[in-house]
């Protein structure tokens, strides 16, 4: 449950709050934006949002711990999402995760010490024909072979 130093809500988030504050469903939309801005929901950002939106902190934590999408800890600069949906799993998704662990030295839901990469498992990325699949910051790599990983990672 990390905080960030010298917290100021980013201009992007403030704009978004102004736009959404009085609409129904505002909390989840604003939390999405916050995660986009900071990469996770820092605890002091949650405090600030509770105050600005007049929502109990317990409600915010109920939401951000319910959805896997929201992260409570800082993540790497680059997010590696390895698909563990049925097709990818059968085609060796787990081996990809193991190989990443060998190369990067960190396992699932962890961040490399230099802060460059985080590794996460996701359910179906929606392109089962390309199994096994992973994505880095949204760019999809399909029909993956373990041997391709060093070259792909070197691009980031």
């Amino acid at each position: 449950m990390e905080t960030i130093k010298n917290l100021e809500l980013t201009p992007g988030l403030l704009d978004y709050i102004a736009q959404w504050k009085d609409k129904p469903g505002n909390l989840i939309m604003i939390l999405h934006k916050a995660q986009e801005e900071y990469g996770f929901i820092p605890r002091n950002v949650a405090f600030k949002l509770a105050e600005v939106l007049d929502v109990p902190l317990a409600k915010i934590y109920g939401v951000i711990t319910f959805y896997h999408y929201f992260k409570l800890e800082k993540r790497g600069k680059n997010i590696i999402a390895v698909c563990m949906g049925t097709a990818c799993y059968l085609k060796g998704g787990e081996d990809i995760i193991k190989e990443l662990e060998t190369i990067l030295g960190v396992g699932l839901n962890d961040m490399t010490p230099d802060g460059k990469f985080s590794v996460e498992a996701v359910r179906c990325l929606g392109c089962c024909g390309l199994a096994p699949v992973m994505s880095i910051n949204g760019t999809v790599y399909g029909k993956l072979l373990k041997s391709q990983l060093p070259e792909i990672l070197s691009k980031y």
Partner: protein, 590 residues
């Protein structure tokens, strides 16, 4: 107006019930008990546990009766072999996430899950056990969270968020990882309940069906103090305890057992037994004087807001900083008795106050925190009240001591801090403090007593009661709220008027944190419902009627206390011993 009724069949028997009832409640009216672990009469249905399933004739589907409305002409089956089997499986699944340590659990014997497990004769484990969240949270020293014992029924979350509007507890995570917690994890981030806005009202513990939320038990520490001959242990009982303790010993609900309590406390080893009702009488003298000062002599802001309820004080300090100036500076009655025990009583009986150990028996878990909440709670030079037990803990001690409670003789209290007026005893129910204060304020303003001292408009279970009392031509506008969720309506009006410089909507406000007031406090015997709240309150109103002296200012022992010791109400001595101050507090510093 006649409520609309409908006709339906439950288990082939014709029933006629008011329209709009859930099948669960309609069945209850037809004397059929459908088991449930999540639905509580105080709370809306959440369909969490899955035990209350029933069938509609002709359909194979199983419906949750707690959240299905009975409709005209419906034919319901509440029990058949299939339903019983499904219920048993649901229980087995719940048990697969529940520890088996019933023998070491404080809730044993009173546990709703344990009782159902016995009813269904579950004797083996069919599913693999998965126990999560094993860390206990004792940070509040008032209530203990044991998430491992939680069955995720959601009652505590519902009562904390919706009824009390406190939002200390919530659900974190989902599925098998879901757990009750404040906003932030104990195990990973060391966020505990004391960090949260918890006001320690204990309503979560009173509504929990299992031992997942339990009072911070101090029976053992009490025995240790009683064992040491150097201690001069004294006890006092709160108003609401006397009409609730009987439920633990087979008495009808609402039976007033004041005199048996005096007797039992002496047998437990207390050297003197006082009554918090006496402290309530003192509170009224001080608070009514405060009111008259502000109302008649314009010295201080109005409305005056009562301060006897520690959860309410805590709530105000955390949430309604703009109301601090309106609060009565009076300590709560048991704190007054504590301070007087270690000064007035000690001096009169030549006992070293350092030896006196004051134990309060309270319907309340928040009192465990109140006794150390600020430096004013140490006004006698010592901690004024040393320990606060709930009604449930006292019942446990009585059983541990092997005392045959029902056959005890009646006894009297120790007179100097024990005799009370009717006004003091009704402190235990919503509206009681207001009623007692108005009786005395009326006298202070007009020099005569009310002809009819019973003020009906402040009585009863309506969440907010508003009214005007005529004090010889002067109209006093009052409001009474109970259940912290009802406070917003009253306080928003006050804060709005303050902001706009308008006339205040009220002159005097009473708030009690728990619905129904202390009679349904978080430390009272289990199983509270509105019916029970009413019966316990009736016990107190009867106690009031039974007293020769109805108004606190007419209590001769109060007059003696002021003559011999305090001087006048709001005197310097009173201020030092009987009054306190408030600060704005922040929650979640981490």
């Amino acid at each position: 107006m006649q409520a609309k009724t409908i006709k339906a069949k439950i288990n082939d028997k014709n029933v006629r019930v008011p329209a709009g009832l859930s099948i669960l409640d309609a069945a209850k009216q037809a004397h059929i008990r459908i088991p449930t672990l999540c639905k509580h009469p105080d709370l809306p249905a959440t369909a969490a546990c899955g035990l209350c399933i029933v069938k509609i004739k002709g359909s194979k589907k199983l419906l949750r009766s707690c959240c299905t409305t009975l409709e005209d002409g419906m034919e319901i089956i509440t029990h058949d072999p299939e339903i019983v089997e499904v219920r048993k499986t649901v229980l087995e699944l719940i048990l697969s996430n529940h520890p088996n340590d019933c023998l070491q659990c404080g809730r044993s014997y009173y546990c709703e899950l344990q009782k159902l497990t016995a009813d269904f004769a579950i004797q083996e484990e069919l599913f693999e056990k998965v126990i999560k969240n094993k860390t206990k949270d004792i940070s509040t020293k008032s209530i203990v969270l044991e998430p491992a014992k939680c069955i995720k029924c959601g009652r505590c979350v519902e009562v904390c968020q919706q009824i009390q509007d406190v939002w200390a507890l919530g659900f974190l995570g989902r599925g098998i990882h879901m757990r009750i917690a404040p906003a932030g994890d104990l195990e990973t981030a060391n966020i505990n309940l004391a960090d949260s806005p918890c006001v320690r009202c204990g309503q979560c513990s009173a509504h929990c069906p299992t031992g997942a939320i339990f009072e911070y038990d101090q029976t053992e520490s009490t025995w240790a103090k009683l064992r040491d001959e150097n201690n001069y242990c004294v006890a006092q009982i709160a108003p609401a305890v006397r009409v609730a303790i009987g439920e633990s010993f087979g008495y009808p609900i609402g039976t007033n057992l004041t005199k048996k309590l005096y007797a039992v406390l002496r047998r437990l080893g207390f050297k003197a037994v006082f009554d918090t009702n006496f402290g309530a009488d003192v509170t009224i003298i001080e608070e009514a004087t405060e009111f008259v000062q502000r109302f008649v002599h314009k010295k201080g802001p109005l409305p005056l807001i009562t301060s006897c309820c520690p959860s309410w004080v805590d709530f105000m300090e955390k949430y309604i900083h703009g109301a601090i100036e309106f609060f009565s500076s009076c300590k709560s009655p048991h704190e007054m008795v504590g301070a007087l025990a270690k000064t007035y009583f000690a001096e009169k009986n030549k006992i070293d106050p350092k030896r006196i150990f004051v134990v309060s028996i309270m319907p309340c878990t928040a009192k465990k925190f109140e006794i150390i909440r600020s430096k004013e709670m140490f006004s006698s030079g010592q901690q004024d009240v040393d320990l606060s037990l709930t009604t449930r803990e006292l019942a446990r001690m009585i059983r541990q001591a092997g005392i045959d409670f029902k056959n005890l003789p009646d006894e009297e209290p120790d007179h100097i801090l024990g005799d009370y007026a009717g006004g003091g005893t009704i402190f235990g129910t919503t509206g009681g403090v207001m009623e007692a204060a108005l009786r005395t304020a009326y006298n202070m303003i007009t020099q005569e007593n009310l002809k009819n001292v019973e003020i009906d408009m402040v009585r009863g279970l309506q969440g907010v009661k508003e009214g005007t009392i005529n004090i010889k031509g002067t109209q006093v506008k009052v409001a009474v709220a109970h259940g912290l969720g009802n406070v917003g309506y009253v306080m928003n009006k006050v804060l709005e008027a303050k902001k706009n410089g308008q006339d205040m909507p009220y002159h005097f406000i009473e708030v009690m944190a728990c619905s129904g007031g202390c009679v349904a406090g978080g430390g009272q015997p289990y199983g509270v419902t509105d019916d029970l709240r009413i019966k316990r309150a009736q016990g107190l109103y009867q106690d009031d009627r039974d007293q020769k002296v109805r108004c606190c200012h007419d209590n001769p022992y109060i007059q003696k206390l002021y003559d011999e010791f305090l001087g006048k109400p709001l005197s310097e001595k009173s201020h030092h011993l009987l009054h306190t101050s408030y600060i704005a507090r922040k929650s979640y510093l981490k």
